[in-house]
Symmetry: C2
Subunit: 346 residues, 2 copies
Amino acid sequence: MSETGRQDRPTSRDVARRAGVSQATVSLVLGDRWRGRVSPARAEAVRAAARELAYRPNLAARSLRLGRSRTVLLVVPALTNEFFARVHAGAARVAGEEDVGLVLYHSPEVVLPARDPFASASASLAGVLASSMAAESLAELGGGGLPLVMLDSEPGRGGAVGTVNPDIAAAMRLVVDHLLALGHRAFGHVAAAVDSWTFAVRAGELAGRLAGTPGARLVATERAPLTIEGGMRAAERALAAEPRPTALVCDDDLLAAGAVKAARRMGLRVPEDVSVTGFDDLTLATALEPELTTVRLPAEELGATGMRTLLAALGGETPGGARLPVELVPRGSTARPPRAAGPDGR
Amino acid sequence: MSETGRQDRPTSRDVARRAGVSQATVSLVLGDRWRGRVSPARAEAVRAAARELAYRPNLAARSLRLGRSRTVLLVVPALTNEFFARVHAGAARVAGEEDVGLVLYHSPEVVLPARDPFASASASLAGVLASSMAAESLAELGGGGLPLVMLDSEPGRGGAVGTVNPDIAAAMRLVVDHLLALGHRAFGHVAAAVDSWTFAVRAGELAGRLAGTPGARLVATERAPLTIEGGMRAAERALAAEPRPTALVCDDDLLAAGAVKAARRMGLRVPEDVSVTGFDDLTLATALEPELTTVRLPAEELGATGMRTLLAALGGETPGGARLPVELVPRGSTARPPRAAGPDGR
DNA sequence: CTCCGCACGTGTTACGTATAACTTGGGCCT
DNA sequence: AGGCCCAAGTTATACGTAACACGTGCGGAG
């Protein structure tokens, strides 16, 4: 490893020479804080020179000088999970708008990062944006005292300066109420085998909601890794319970896809014999047949709002937490239970 | 925007003071080029001091000093497409191993980047890794003369220092031969409506292969945006052709998912009435029922090899191009055509 | 005994930027 | 007319690191 391509880009001094001013003036003009310090004519000359030379400020030098950077670290478990890819997209959009850099760390495992994320990216970070699963382990890691905003994680936890969450409890409520309204009473829960706040809330809300409804019952809870295969195995176990659940509530669309496969494999029709719901509204949801009833979590918004929250915090504000609205997307994978056990007539 | 958190991290001078040596020695030791210049005892003392202070070199200062960086820009159309997320994962893995930074630019549109990617990331990049679709537009953009490795793009194009491709032609050949062997003769092509080398090769290879097979015929070619919805509409058109294709070759698994939906919507069974194939082997492929016959493109390998190729180029070597092997994954969405029109008896 | 060379380090500088502190000329007020 | 202040710049410096170009002893060879 040597000779890493050196760029001979023009410096602010080159621009200064060309515009016939001092380097300091260039810095003032291009930094857009020249008002009242430089005449409009000269300012324009500087800008012209910069344009002609295709000048780009050297960010390394700027960071060094300022002792800070406009770069944010986003920590996610894995981008191959569409949900996190969308979180990233939202964060990246705002980062672009606000002209801050965004670097990414995705922990190879869903647990503790193998290597210190700050080691690789220690290019003087301004703050950290950490999403569920990743966030919890990161809180302990300390993060070098950087301002931290947690996404889809327990509010008021750790030293986070802010928290941004989709309204997970409401989301689960929407799902359960939808199924209850259809007449379902025997529920199965295909849960994510991940120790994370967001999934704990789902389990708690589901159990609570059913406990508050006479006649409703959580027949089975099966935990699974967040894959189709995992969802399939867990759903197979859940559907073997007695009495058999007429509705499978899945913590995730991937799990739901597996659940549908499991039902079919057991000779059950979806949604006639068993209803299946997911979480997230991934692309996957409309690929399935029937299309998956799910609840849309605003992933992009999560990333975008998280980034804005972090930037606000960096600006000195104390933003606290935000809760993002969610939306039920009823599709074909849910229907009235077999034997029309609906309470509300017909 | 102000007061972006300043970190008061220890500097190499702090380490030097603590170890009782000069800053230069610290630089030598920690840079691991002290052999024969510093006694082992002192070197160890320096390392100990660095450890105790939790010293991390300031990357901004280092980049500034060196005039180069160990940061690579990866350009992809969108990470929400699992294929590119996997490319990124591969590139990120190697980047981690080789201790180079990786920044990401994903063009909001699949076409030309809205903003100059180098503007945001101009933190002195060492090189650029650009994947299909993004690569083509980038080649014209020039990239500031940075070493560029293109992924899944036309070899020997533009100023690229290297190219890494999955063997797209072989991939299409595998698909077509698989279908021909099953007895299919009437083909439909659900093509991506994206002007990119990788899709041009698919179309060319499909046409060529069929032209070389007596009795085989490409009945319909329909172009679609790379979404399930797009695939569905295109497949509907293709299946309306006369004679109706018994096999739909899709440029992508998303398109294939749409094709399956279209077939069902028209009252056709998959695979009994029509076979469907995809490309990429996304997670989606095993969620569908029947599971999708597809060809696995080594996305992670693509990113990883691309990164290695770029690093080799930066090291002064002239790596040229690499071709990555692909693999047919036969699953349930393909079968013998109806009316058992197979030529090979039975 | 002198002198060379090696082993082991250190002083110093430059990278490109942002900004505090200073300079200068001219207009306005008294 | 004299003083003063403001507009419009400039000069100088520091940020943290890497690496070049120098010391300094000390052992052995001549």
